[in-house]
Amino acid sequence: MSSQIVPLIIIGVSVLFILGIKFLSSPKTARTGNLVAAAGMFIALCALLKTDGSSVWSHGWTFNYTLIVIGTVIGLIIGAIGAYSVKMTSMPQMVALFNGLGGGAAALVASLEFLKDAHGAEPVTAFITVPMLFATLIGSLSFSGSIIAYLKLEGKFEKPHTFPGQNILNGLIWLVILGLGGWLTFNATGGNAVTAFIAMFALALFFGIAMVMPIGGADMPVVISLLNSFTGLAVAADGFAIHNNAMIVAGTLVGSSGTLLTLLMCKAMNRPVTNVLFGAFGSSGGATAAASGIAGTVKPIQADEVALLLAYAQRVVIVPGYGMAVAQAQHSVRELSDELGKRGVEVQFAIHPVAGRMPGHMNVLLAEANVPYDQLIEMEAINPSMDRVDVCLVIGANDVVNPAAREDKASPIYGMPIIEADRCKTVIVMKRSMAAGFAGIENHLFYKDNTRMLFGDAKASLNALVAAVKAS
């Protein structure tokens, strides 16, 4: 392939990536968008050039090419097994893992380039060294950070781990890393460079762990989104180092869109990103302070009573939370919604921006249960009309309906936008027990006069509701 045509192909590929991300932003075109981006990737692979401008596929076949094919096939198999076996509830973990692999690959590619240059005789310019160091650093911390995020979402040490002076220690590690990087920028060749480089690599891996450990499981989506954009930037830096424009464009697009996505998520939780990363949310006395101010008692209710309320309501709003997904109750919810719909009840689902474990996760879970997406209403759209809702059914959601966010200045979630379930005529909270939510905060909603608690496994309760509604 001529070296004049390839840059044109890469321009086309860049357009495909941009269109792909663009299409991903509307539910009608999203699937096409993903396929468009995948097509771009395939075309770019065929037109892959080496640093000297020759096609990577035009050289003689060596053992290295056999390794490339074997490695790609192994990766394909791992990826396919992961992608098709993962439960929809575990989607955030899967994204974290894939992201970590990408970050690890970016760090390895940069390391290999760096080591090659370090052993070479020619001096290397900072324009090449800096991107390599950047990719190594960011890629490796994205790798280790993503794995910690994965483990936290799997329920391993999901509580924040903090100790006094932690931020200072992390700051010091970061300074050492930057110092090593600075020194390497000007001393990129020779044995000392290799030693310093390995030290930097190891410290960056450790820093990824140290950065994510203090952050609570509830904030992992933000962390994953941030690490996703980090990996993008690392890939772009690799593109600089090995002169691959497709990698620069793709990596930068992911880096900048990922940064914006991270900020959007933080905005949905009404917390600055610095607070998420360094705040060690929910670890201190905030929870106990909030619990003391609650007045009122918890009033339980039975399923057949709830069924009557639902069956004779005009408008019902369902607030689904991660607890619903854990109980695998999505299909039962849809059945209940269909059953009520048949009786002429208007049923809507109120989706909090951070419902589930990451923004949009709940939409995926409900889509899996065949709930049409036009029945899902976003928080801002549904809140103004909550006064006119007869029954609000809160299923396995907790923090996103906690009025403490509005009323209690001492609460750690004060100021977070919530679905204002407490304003509905009747609120039914379906819950396994009185345990606190993911953020570890008492919920004022449970004690309100218009709230009734339906205790039990969400799926069993919903099935009882469906049967009772059918009978009434």
């Binding site: 991300i21 991903l24 390895l108 424009n245 497709a246 949009g360 997406y373 036009d374 976003e378």
Partner: protein
């Protein structure tokens, strides 16, 4: 140093911001997963370094990079497609 590369970089930063500024939060998860797949282009980096590998160490590291990158790109696109095929409008 080719300044054209910097030029591309700066433009891509702004395009990245612009294309997702209007994404509804219902699509944040697929979007994160989709962009995650796009940075799987690092597979190319892995292929390039492995193609030039000249020692056992570089072959091993390059091989690992190719596996990682390949899992990222294929797994990423497949899992995103699996999510998005479920988004349907009312029958």
């Amino acid at each position: 140093m080719d300044t054209n590369i910097l030029f591309i970089f700066i433009l891509a930063v702004f395009v990245g911001f612009e294309v997702i500024s209007k994404v509804p939060s219902m699509l944040h998860t697929p979007l994160m997963s989709g962009t995650n797949a796009i940075h799987g282009i690092i597979l190319f980096g892995g292929i390039l370094v492995l193609a030039d590998a000249d020692s056992v160490l570089t072959q091993v590291l390059g091989f690992v990079a190719v596996i990682f990158g390949s899992a990222n790109v294929f797994g990423g696109f497949m899992v995103t497609d699996r999510m998005l095929q479920m988004f349907k409008k009312k029958k």
